[in-house]
Amino acid sequence: MIEAVDLSKRYGAKTAVDGISFTVKPGRVTGFLGPNGAGKSTTMRMIVGLDNPSGGDVRVNGKHYAQHSAPLREVGALLDAKAVHTKRSAYNHLRAMAATHGIPNSRVREVIEMTGLGPVAKKRVGGFSLGMGQRLGIACALLGDPHTVILDEPVNGLDPEGVQWVRHLAKGLAAEGRTVFLSSHLMSEMALTADHLIVIGRGRIIADAPISEILDGHGQSRTRVRTDNPAELVRALAADGVTSQQLEPELLEITGADSRRIAEAALAGRILVYELTPLQASLEDAYMQLTTDEVEYHSHTLPQSPAGTGAEEGR
């Protein structure tokens, strides 16, 4: 259980986290979603006491993180990959971490097994790939077999097999009744893993709801239709709230009418329809809709500058 109340963090004039309140409950995977620079990592660092809040308060399992007598047994955190000395081996790193809590070496070997680090455990962490670094971070988070697991961008740099493994791990931990708090800027990953979403943008909470609710509320269902007479079908469907978009000469994307209604309209108008695919509103759409105004770093198409043109000519 993680409870944040009016939590904020300012770095000089810049406000990274702006008075957010939320609760992460046990028994489910809570996703923490937001664009880069939205304040996800800062929030997680405050949860485990690395950063002091400028205002407000955050507690884990009822206490401030630093007040726990056995913090690693309460909370396991993967904050960023490779919070590890590059010249030390993974095994020795875990051993040093475990020693602070009197966690036996048998548990160290266990988490190495669990995270698939066995073959590289005795090697220097400096030579690890990003994915191996992530696995080590996760191993470290699981060391104390904690009630609460916080993973900041855990799938970063993992191969598809690793991504799937993290997904199963998170769900498994939640199913055992633990609190799982998972951050990501990848909406697709969240859609597959999280039960509940907290969406953050520019240091503020934009949404805090079950994932299904966020999908229903913000994404409209669309249907992909292939027909040899799109104009006629659009006319037949013309009604309030039905909009369509012609993507290809014979391909339409219709919003505001379900596939049954489209089929009925087509039948009534004797229009040939050869594809009718309901498209689930993607979390991505919902997310984009939620965060368009909250993105810190927009990508812009660069205007064609004279200098650029010059370079083109120079080639």
């Binding site: 006491g49 690395l50 726990h68 904050l79 919070a83 000395h85 602070t100 698939g116 077999d145 791990l169």
Partner: protein, 293 residues
């Protein structure tokens, strides 16, 4: 890679109960953790070993140099040329710790590296998440390394004593461990290194940067004394007097066999250097407790 568990099996749950029954963080455990950390970085172990070799080597070299000096002085023709050279007999008793300056340089730098590299690599976040009260983690690291520095310093001086005797013997300069002040000299060679380690690690903790910390430490230990003795001495009368309280001068006095008039005694030197080390340590602890990691 393919072999990865997805959910804890009953075995893990059993292990969990066993593990969970133990209490949490305590200082002894943090000490053990810091001991593991120091001993599992190969370059640290290599640095420490080289320090011992160099310190013992310097003691041997200095013993040999002393015998050569004495030979020169006993030769009337050459004696004129080495006029002003210190009296060889008064030097022999400090031979065991003659590697101390070099030892300070290496131990001071290594102390900075040990803590600053935690910030450099991000390791500090793991450390502070495991020990969120922060101060025990820093104190444990300081204590572990200060102990290593003490044992290394005193051990090297002790070894230096035994290496020097056969070299000095032909010139009849060999001396016993019971000679006045020799044992204290040997022990304080370790004490100086331990205190310098604390001072340097505190600087490293404050600056959180290896290069900056090493430069600052070397500046304080080796450059400031030279500046004070040359450039600044002329500015005011009190400056050379105050120079006695620099960490380097205090350290020199700690290992001195004979105390010059007006100089600090071994005990006073120890107090001054301890003061420097403790003051920097306290500041580094307060700052680390308040600052974000």
């Amino acid at each position: 890679m393919a072999h990865t568990a997805t959910a804890p099996n009953p075995e893990h749950t059993a292990a969990r109960r066993g593990a969970a029954s133990g209490p949490g963080v305590n200082f002894l455990r943090v000490l053990k953790s810091e001991w593991i950390k120091v001993t599992t970085i190969p370059s640290t172990v290599i640095m420490l070993t080289s320090t011992v070799v160099i310190m013992v080597g310097l003691a041997a070299l200095f013993a040999w140099q002393t015998t050569v000096l004495l030979d020169l002085q006993s030769n009337p023709e050459m004696a004129a040329q080495v006029q002003g050279a210190p009296d060889a007999t008064s030097l022999v008793a400090t031979i065991p710790g003659s590697g101390l300056v070099f030892g300070q340089l290496l131990i001071g730098s290594l102390a900075v590296v040990l803590i600053a590299s935690e910030w450099g690599t991000g390791m500090i976040r793991s450390t502070m998440v495991a020990v969120p009260k922060r101060i025990p983690a820093l104190l444990a690291k300081q204590l572990v390394f200060a102990l290593i520095a003490f044992v290394l310093g005193a051990g090297s001086a002790f070894a230096g004593y035994f290496v020097a005797q056969p070299i000095l013997a032909p010139s009849e300069l060999a001396f016993g461990l019971d000679t006045d002040g020799v044992l204290l000299h040997i022990i304080n060679t370790g004490s100086v290194l331990a205190l310098v380690a604390v001072l340097a690690m505190s600087i490293g903790t404050l600056l959180r940067n290896t290069a900056g910390g090493v430069v600052t430490t070397i500046g304080l230990l080796f450059v400031v004394p030279i500046l004070v003795a040359t450039l600044l001495a002329g500015i005011a009368d009190w400056i050379p007097d105050a120079a006695r309280f620099l960490p380097s001068s205090a350290g020199e006095q700690m290992v001195a066999i004979t105390i010059a008039d007006g100089a600090l005694t071994q005990g006073q030197g120890a107090l001054v250097l301890t003061g420097w080390a403790l003051a920097l340590l306290v500041v580094s602890l307060i700052v680390t407790r308040k600052r974000d990691v």
